[in-house]
Symmetry: C2
Subunit: 118 residues, 2 copies
DNA sequence: TCTCCTTATATCCGTATGTATATAGCGGTA
DNA sequence: TACCGCTATATACATACGGATATAAGGAGA
């Protein structure tokens, strides 16, 4: 038997008021923006429309005191984007949080109660 | 100043495969079902359609090895519902999990970076 | 100055999700 | 035996979310 039968994966989203400030999708987007130095390239990598990616970035930037993503327009590459110091910090904290959350004993106990055919 | 400015509330959903086995809504539904001993009363309390409540119960019952909600039809009250032992256990574990997760230091640190006008 | 690729933004449309509504069946109790 | 209120289920409809598309603007470099 390989291993991963009856597995529970926690998904964590942080709500500020009634808008989701951060979640799995936004975190991955941040990561890809930093990798590609571009919102549109990150969107393509996630097979997500640029519109959606831009909206996600926009809500993150307005949710937090300082923008997480810094953008520039123009230039020979048309512009680009990268994470601000605060963006890097937020991403790191979220990943750290995710790790802590996914290692709790309640998870494995809940997983043991799952049905086999998943 | 009262208190709760710049507050982050974590929302935790547990995915089994690609279906959400448990989340904030389903947990609250379980709680209300146990309180009212009725799916429809619980749905009304959450201002949710009976159909939706029933679908949530159905996915929970099929996600887990044993049903979390036991139902009965007929009788002078028309029937009713209550949590199984496994349902009670799952709910308790989820609440415990929630508590642990909402007390992590990363949360308060992230919250301190939020914008004021939320 | 022209080109290029990106950010930024608006409009339109399809799909998917949930609500509303209707109906059948069940089985204690009066 | 008739009633009642619930579970269980189907169908039709509204609405919201995301994708596709179009367009403007920006600015470094050739």
């Amino acid at each position: 038997m390989p291993d991963s039968n009856t597995c529970l994966t926690p998904r964590l989203r942080l709500k500020a008021g009634d808008t989701i400030a951060l979640g799995p999708g936004k975190a991955q987007l941040l990561e890809l923006i930093q990798q590609h130095r571009s919102i549109s390239a990150a969107a393509r990598a996630m097979k997500m429309s640029y519109r959606r990616a831009w909206l996600l970035v926009d809500t993150m930037n307005t949710c937090f005191e300082n923008p997480l993503v810094l953008t520039a327009t123009g230039g020979n590459q048309g512009g680009g984007a990268e994470l601000s110091d605060e963006g890097l910090k937020v991403l790191a904290l979220y990943r750290q949080y995710e790790n802590a959350v996914s290692e709790r004993p309640e998870l494995t106990e809940l997983a043991s109660l799952l049905s086999k055919n998943t």
